[in-house]
Every structure is written in structure tokens, then in C-alpha cells.
């Protein structure tokens, strides 16, 4: 491994699989702890990775989450096959959620997702196509 390549962790995600919800983000968090990254930075990465992971599980059919950890930054990329987000601007507003009722009853999908992720990260980029899927990339500097 050379420092430029960094470490890559990748996990497959399955829509509606609430049993393993959060596992990928926990593993990413744990790796960052092993690396000795500052706790407050780990927290931002963990929270945004978790929100993104949950979005796939709640809304999409399948997807993946990948963390590329470099000495000075972590890049989290989440891609899914799913309905996509019809109105990004609306989705970026706090409190907006398209999560179905049964999901909200479980306490997920309170609509803090995208704005929360954007707030926690240094770079935030989202591409989405209706009926195809969504791709998120986030960078957080250590």
C-alpha cells in the first residue's frame, strides 16, 4: 500500500435489509479509530456514512458504500439502484422526507438525511436520475 492509494473498505447494501443497517458505517468508524483519526472527525464521517447507508436501505433496491481512507481525508461514495430523487432542491431542505410511513414508524427517515450529510462533510456531491439511482460522494478532511 502506498499512502496515495489509501485503504479501501467496500460493502454491498440491500434495500429493506434493516437487520444489517448501520453495520457498514460501524466498520468504517472502527477502522478510523484504529488509525487514530480525531474523534470529532470520526463522528462526522460516521454520521454521514450512516445517513447515506440508511438512505439506500430505505429507498433503493440495492447499492454499495465505499470508504477510501487516505492519511489526510476520507472519501465516502454511495451508489444505489433505485427510484432516484425527483427534486434534489426539495430533498436538501431540512425536515423533508420521502420515507414511507412504515419506515418512519421505525424511527428512521426523519428527513434529516441530505442536509445533515452536507453539513457534516467538506465536499458533498450528489447525482441522481429518476428511475435509475443515486450516487453520492462526500469528502471529509482529517
Amino acid at each position: 500500500m502506498t499512502p496515495e492509494q489509501g485503504l479501501t473498505l467496500e460493502f454491498a447494501l440491500t434495500g429493506a435489509d434493516f437487520n444489517s443497517a448501520g453495520e457498514a458505517s460501524s466498520k468504517i468508524k472502527r477502522t478510523l479509530q484504529l488509525l487514530g483519526i480525531r474523534p470529532d472527525i470520526i463522528r462526522r464521517i460516521a454520521i454521514s456514512a450512516y445517513e447515506a447507508e440508511m438512505n439506500v436501505i430505505i429507498h433503493a433496491y440495492r447499492g454499495s458504500i465505499r470508504a477510501d481512507i487516505h492519511p489526510n481525508r476520507t472519501e465516502v461514495t454511495v451508489a444505489d439502484e433505485g427510484p432516484g430523487i425527483p427534486d434534489i432542491e426539495l430533498a436538501m431542505k431540512e425536515g423533508y422526507s420521502t420515507a414511507p410511513d412504515y419506515v418512519r414508524e421505525m424511527g428512521f427517515g426523519a428527513g434529516m438525511g441530505l442536509p445533515n450529510m452536507a453539513r457534516c462533510t467538506d465536499k458533498f456531491d450528489i447525482k441522481t436520475e429518476a428511475g435509475v439511482g443515486t450516487q453520492l460522494s462526500m469528502t471529509i478532511y482529517h
Binding site: M1, G22, S26, L34, L35, G36, Y50
Partner: protein
């Protein structure tokens, strides 16, 4: 890292190397090496899980003795509310307090008084809009330490108050210092403790420069003597804490006293760790407060108590409902106010993070170690049997990466190596040097 004081210790002669404790320890602090358990000091949170689960009773908690009272002119006992759960409900709290006096203490000051003050402070804290939610209880020192070492990012969620026992100690000490002829040096303040975590907190205070507590005596240590002198008859009348503070002995009691309702109550250190993991991922933000206790059932389940925790819980509940009825008759009402001095605001300092997971100070080296660990883990059987002396396969992979263990510590890898070696030996045994090997055909022969 500097050696830390720990109350939990190992009696080497009694350790069988059975690996039970390695697998119970919530911070993976224990390894078996050379047939004996070893506790990594920086990881240990003094929760006492290993004491509970060691079949050979090789793990003990160092606490002080009644004999240590002799070193001081004036001694104050601070009984934890969980002490009352060790006695039948027919023995009133007053009788237990009088019993402590008979054992040689000059004064008794219930920790429950401190609990009442802390409850009010938490209630006020939860009214604030600017605190990270959920706020987390800081009353159980094992949990505070768990957060320091494994969830340092959650430190600012901790309620910024001393534990009830520290508050009680400060008040008891201040009272005694008013008495004629007493100076701070000749006052001994002794906590009657259900757990080693609180013992450790005396010697290594959390959030304070120095503890007001002189020492801690295990409930299990004082119980035999106390049992002999406690009687239900005629007692010294003493001031007593109300049911509000006494309720803290059982999980859920703290929440009750605080009077908040959007609250989670979590007990047993392993469950606590699961919930902390969720908080760390940003969940549970809509919860106001989490009461967290390392022992299943709360302090009545502390490893240094004597009574079965279900029995103790039942007794405490009975005791509390009785107190609820009787306390008002005797004018024992819950506190309604507290001062900054009582709470100890001035002496408070921030709880510092003590992360333990970092593999290497150099991040590139740490990354290499992670890659190495991943590869190692793939070649381990993944049974998590613990026979290698590390708590699970992953921990062994980490130990190997850190140069603290080797691949052949895994019994399955070792067996495979032995078998491969054996096959190779059989193979070799079949081979004979050419002069003896009559069966071997040599192409060369034909050529000639």
C-alpha cells in the same frame, strides 16, 4: 501510556487460563499469555465483568478495610443506596445506618443525599437547548470510562456533574470540618461500595482534581460484620435521605428522580456499548437522556454486593414504595433546591478522551497494519473460540499485527501446520536414497 490505578486485579495462582474473562470484557482488555490472564491497564474500565465471570475467583477488587479507620480520628461512612437492598425490608434504613455507627464510624452520610442533588442538576441540565442530545448519565464511573476509551466522540454528551457519592463526600466533609478539633487530615470519608469502578474513581477521580473520598470498602467486605450488629429494634434517630435518592440503587431510579420522560434506561455494559454505538452514528438524537449503568439491574447488581440482584431489586422496590408513604410523615421530603457548592461546580474539570484503539502513532504504519490484519483474519478459521488467548479471531489478528502474538497461537492453524508437517514427514520417509531404491526406474538405464 502511564500506568493507571485499577481496583480490579488478578490473583495469578488462582487463574486457570480458562479464557472466560477474555470474552466477557467489553473493551477486550484481557489476554491469556503463558497460561495466565493479563489485563491491559489502558483498556480496563473497572466494570467488574471479569470478576463476575471468573469461575476460579481469580479476579478480585482491591478495596479498603474496616481496620483502615484507625488511621483517622473521625470517620464518616457513605453508604451506597444499594447497601439497603442487601437487607430484608423489615430492617429500616435507620437500622442499617445505626449498624454502621456501631462498627466504628462516627457519622453516616447517605450517598442518596448526593443523588437527590444530582437529580435536580440533571433536570435543569435537560432544560437547556444548547446541549448535545441525548445527554448521557455520568453517575456510573465504568460507563464514563467506557466512553473515554471507546466512544471519546461522545464525551460532550455526558452530564457534566460529579457522581452522587462525590457530592455526598464533599458535603459530609464540609460538615465535619465545622466540628471543633477536626482538621481535614484527620477526617476519613469512606464509601461503602457495590463496585470496583467506584473504588477506582476514588484514586483516579473523573472530572475532579482530587476526590473528597478517603477510601472505599466493598459491601461484600463489610456485610458480615454489619449483619451481626444490625437489629430492627431501637435506633439512633438520624436524618435520612428521601425515597428519591434511595431509588438510584436500581436501574430506572435515576430517571425517576430526574423526572424526565423521553429517556432510555440501559443497563449491562454490553447493552450499553450497543446503544453507545447507535448514538455514535447519530441516532437517538430525539431522546433527551440516557441512564446508563454497567451492571445488569443497576448498582444492586454490582460485583461487590452479596445478595442476588433479583432479590435485591425486589427488596429495593418494596422499600421505596414504603418510603414513599412513610417519608412525608417523618418530614423526609425530597430536596427541591441545591447550590453550586453542593454540586461542586467549582472543582469540575472536563473529562478527557483516552482512546485505546489506535494501532500506531504513524497513520501510514497504522494503515499497513490494518491491511495486514485483514489478510491475517482471512486465514484464521473465524470461529472466535478464544483458545488462542485473545477474545476472538479479529483480536488475534490485531495482536499479531502488533507483534504480540503469532499465527500458531491459533490451535487450528497449529494443527494444520502439524498435519502438513506430518504428511511431509511421511512423504520424506518414503523416499530412499538411489542405491537402496530397487523399484525406481531410471530412464538413463534404458538409454544405455
Amino acid at each position: 501510556m502511564a500506568e493507571r490505578y485499577h481496583s480490579v486485579r488478578l490473583t495469578d495462582e488462582k487463574c486457570q487460563g480458562c479464557v472466560n474473562c477474555t470474552r466477557r470484557c467489553p473493551t477486550e482488555a484481557i489476554r491469556i499469555r503463558g497460561g495466565k490472564a493479563q489485563i491491559t491497564s489502558s483498556r480496563c474500565i473497572d466494570c467488574g465483568e471479569c470478576i463476575r465471570y471468573c469461575p476460579g475467583h481469580a479476579k478480585t477488587a482491591v478495596t479498603d478495610e474496616l481496620a483502615d479507620l484507625k488511621k483517622y480520628k473521625y470517620n464518616i461512612a457513605l453508604p451506597a443506596p444499594s447497601l439497603y437492598g442487601q437487607f430484608s425490608v423489615d430492617i429500616p434504613v435507620r437500622a442499617i445506618l445505626s449498624g454502621l455507627l456501631k462498627l466504628g464510624f462516627n457519622e453516616v452520610f447517605e450517598v442518596a443525599h448526593g443523588a437527590e442533588i444530582v437529580s435536580l442538576a440533571i433536570r435543569d441540565h435537560l432544560k437547556r437547548k444548547d446541549i448535545p442530545r441525548p445527554a448521557i448519565s455520568s453517575a456510573c464511573p465504568a460507563i464514563v470510562r467506557l466512553i473515554q476509551v471507546k466512544y471519546p466522540e461522545l464525551i460532550d454528551h455526558l452530564a457534566p456533574f460529579d457522581a452522587p457519592v462525590e457530592v455526598a463526600a464533599r458535603l459530609a466533609r464540609a460538615e465535619a470540618e465545622e466540628l471543633p478539633g477536626l482538621t481535614p487530615e484527620n477526617i476519613g470519608v469512606w464509601f461503602i461500595t457495590p463496585c470496583p469502578a467506584k473504588m477506582t474513581a476514588v484514586y483516579q477521580p473523573l472530572g475532579a482534581e482530587k476526590s473528597n473520598i478517603t477510601g472505599a470498602i466493598a459491601i461484600s467486605k463489610i456485610y458480615p460484620a454489619l449483619l451481626k450488629v444490625v437489629t430492627a429494634e431501637l435506633q439512633d434517630a438520624r436524618r435520612q435521605a428521601s425515597w428519591v435518592g434511595v431509588g438510584w440503587a436500581v436501574s430506572g431510579g435515576e430517571t425517576n428522580s430526574v423526572g424526565a420522560d423521553n429517556v432510555l434506561i440501559v443497563h449491562d455494559v454490553h447493552h450499553v456499548a450497543n446503544v453507545l454505538e447507535q448514538v455514535a452514528l447519530g441516532k437517538l438524537k430525539d431522546v433527551d437522556y440516557i441512564e446508563m449503568l454497567a451492571c445488569a439491574g443497576g448498582c444492586i447488581g454490582g460485583p461487590l454486593t452479596v445478595e442476588n440482584r433479583y432479590v435485591a431489586e425486589h427488596r429495593m422496590k418494596q422499600r421505596i414504595s414504603r418510603k414513599k408513604m412513610e417519608d412525608p410523615k417523618f418530614g423526609r421530603l425530597p430536596r427541591t433546591d441545591y447550590s453550586e457548592f453542593e454540586l461542586g461546580v467549582a472543582g469540575r474539570r472536563a473529562i478527557e478522551p483516552k482512546p485505546i484503539l489506535r494501532l500506531d502513532a504513524d497513520i501510514t504504519k497504522a494503515m499497513n497494519k490494518i491491511e495486514f490484519m485483514d489478510r491475517t483474519l482471512k486465514s484464521l478459521p473465524g470461529l472466535d473460540c478464544g483458545s488462542c488467548g485473545s477474545p476472538n479471531c479479529k483480536a488475534l489478528a490485531e495482536d499479531i499485527a502488533q507483534g504480540l502474538a503469532s499465527m500458531t497461537d491459533c490451535v487450528f492453524i497449529l494443527r494444520k501446520k502439524v498435519r502438513d508437517l506430518a504428511y511431509e514427514m511421511v512423504d520424506l520417509a518414503d523416499k530412499l536414497p538411489p542405491p537402496l531404491d530397487k523399484n525406481q526406474e531410471y530412464e538413463e538405464k534404458e538409454k544405455c
